[in-house]
């Protein structure tokens, strides 16, 4: 029976002690412990979030980099093809100019040759005329001397001309 009868003394001391324990642990025990646990929980959550954020940033940065690289490549290709085009143009125009120049030179050379040729022909004509006049003079002179001699002489002159 004494087992199940509460004692007033123990109840009094128990109430007092438990209240003191509650106060001390509540104020100096659980409060800092729970505060620190919450803080740790928060710091872990923050760190995880930070990591997630950084990962996302890295991903975006990578995409950016790739985009930039692609753009740079495109730009380079454009520049190179442009340069190629320009050089081709320059080459073409230079070639055209050279052709034109060469044709011009050839043309003028031809003209000069033609002119010289005409000049030579005129000279020959004059010379032939002179020679013809000479021959005619000599023939006429010979004819007047001897008929035989005349024909021989004409033949001889003709031979001379052939030799010329």
């Amino acid at each position: 029976m004494e087992l199940v009868l509460p004692g007033i003394g123990l109840m009094f001391w128990m109430t007092l002690s438990f209240l003191i324990l509650l106060f001390i642990l509540g104020k100096f025990g659980w409060k800092p412990i729970m505060g620190m646990l919450n803080k740790r929980e928060k710091s872990i959550t923050d760190a995880l979030q930070e990591a997630e954020k950084t990962r996302e940033e890295m991903r975006l940065l990578k995409i950016d980099n790739e985009l930039l690289l692609k753009q740079a490549k495109e730009e380079r290709d454009a520049i190179v093809s442009e340069a190629r085009k320009v050089s081709q143009k320059m080459y073409d125009s230079a070639k055209e100019k050279a052709n034109f120049e060469a044709e011009h030179i050839i043309e003028s050379a031809k003209e000069a040759i033609h002119y010289e040729k005409m000049k030579a022909i005129a000279d020959i004509k004059n010379t032939i005329a002179d020679l013809s006049v000479d021959i005619a003079e000599k023939v006429i002179l010979q004819e007047l001397k001897d008929k035989q001699a005349h024909s021989t002489y004409v033949n001889k002159l003709l031979d001379d001309i052939k030799l010329n």
């Binding site: 199940v4 025990g29 412990i33």
Partner: protein, 374 residues
């Protein structure tokens, strides 16, 4: 892993200590029972109850009929006067002092201080308040001091350590604390748990610490504190007060006007309100009885195994020695179970307290949501 090894080591130590203390305690008694001058028959029942209930002196051991005890102060308030004297004045209950004595007769008052007259007869009408520092009170003070030191040193390590990994004693406290907080308090109470967490944590660690302290069979442990009805009554009373004070409108409406119950159960005879109101009081009473009964039962069974040695030893000395082997094995086995019970009961008390508080603070909308889910 490390904690497991530590626990196993602690178990081993505890077992060794238990074994050693069993021999330490009772070998002198065996010698005493051999002594023909003490013809007293061994009374297992009173021995067991004597170990389980409170006492005015802390008996440590008996060597050749000589008791070695710590005499605790007796504090009595009688007739507007405070009597303060050592319990050694009672001479183990054989003598009276200043009109007070320890009741030796069987009954409700056995082992308690009573007022006696000159002839040593009990004065039943005398009114006095007994605030003595008994064995359980001293054990309470010691355990509270140790518990405070442990928790405060853990708190200090948290302060020093910042929000890094726990170190030292905090490494042992933290998993238990988080288990209670995340396993019992937060799911039971919900978003308002912050306010009640310090109370419930203190409750849990107090019960656990004293359960474990009670398993140590020698000074300063060994007092059956959490197996004492006064202590569990106060603990349950704290839960009752916290629950009742934090009860919201919905909680009281559920008690006095339970929804979903036919009207004829409420009017004209308020059957359901009465049942619900009784429930308010039975909840803490069940808490009180459960802890008290579990811890005391464990102690009684463990002591029963030890008493078996002396019951058999009285009839035949060698039978006593023979059965002691089995008894010690059973005692150790019981020790393991009690270790388990120490944790389970502390957890159950805290969990149920949390559930009761949770019922008192739960919002109406939450219940509706729950019903919709189900």
């Amino acid at each position: 892993m490390h904690l497991n090894i530590c626990k196993i080591k602690t178990y081993k130590k505890l077992c060794l200590l238990t074994l050693w203390s069993v021999f330490l305690f009772f070998i002198p008694n065996i010698q005493a029972s051999e002594n023909p001058s003490t013809e007293k028959k061994f009374d297992a029942g009173s021995t067991i109850i004597g170990h389980v209930v409170d006492a005015y002196e802390w008996h440590i051991m008996t060597i050749n009929d000589k008791h070695i005890s710590i005499y605790l102060p007796v504090i009595l308030y009688h007739d507007g006067k405070i009597h303060l004297f050592s319990s050694s004045k009672f001479h183990h209950g054989h003598e009276s002092y200043a009109g007070f004595a320890i009741c030796q007769e069987k009954g409700a008052n056995k082992g308690k201080i009573i007022k006696v007259d000159e002839e040593g007869n009990m004065d039943k009408d005398a009114f006095f308040i007994d605030l003595s520092i008994t064995k359980n009170v001293l054990s309470l003070f010691i355990s509270i001091l140790l518990l405070t030191l442990i928790i405060l040193s853990a708190a200090r390590s948290y302060k020093k350590n910042g929000h890094g990994a726990p170190k030292g004693i905090a490494r042992i406290i933290e998993p238990i604390l988080l288990f209670i907080k995340d396993g019992a308090i937060v799911p039971s109470i919900g978003p308002k748990h912050e306010k009640y967490t310090p109370f419930l944590l203190t409750l849990f660690f107090f019960i656990l610490f004293n359960n474990l302290f009670g398993l140590i069979p020698f000074f300063p442990g060994g007092a059956n504190l959490t197996g004492n009805i006064s202590v569990t009554l106060i603990l349950a009373l704290f839960t009752f007060i916290v629950t009742t004070l934090s009860g919201n409108k919905h909680y009281w409406k559920d008690i006095f006007n339970t929804p979903g119950i036919p009207w004829w159960l409420k009017v004209p005879i308020p059957l359901m309100p009465i049942v619900e109101l009784i429930g308010v009081f039975t909840k803490p009473i069940i808490l009180m009885i459960r802890l008290f009964a579990n811890i005391t039962a464990g102690h009684i069974i463990a002591l029963g195994f030890i008493c078996l040695i002396f019951i058999l030893g009285e009839t035949n000395l060698s039978a006593g020695y023979g059965v002691s082997i089995a008894s010690v094995i059973f005692y150790v086995f019981m020790g393991f179970i009690e270790l388990l019970v120490a944790f389970i009961q502390a957890y159950v008390f805290t969990l149920l307290s949390a559930i009761y508080i949770g019922m008192a603070v739960k919002e109406h909308e939450e219940e509706h949501e729950l019903k919709e889910i189900h």
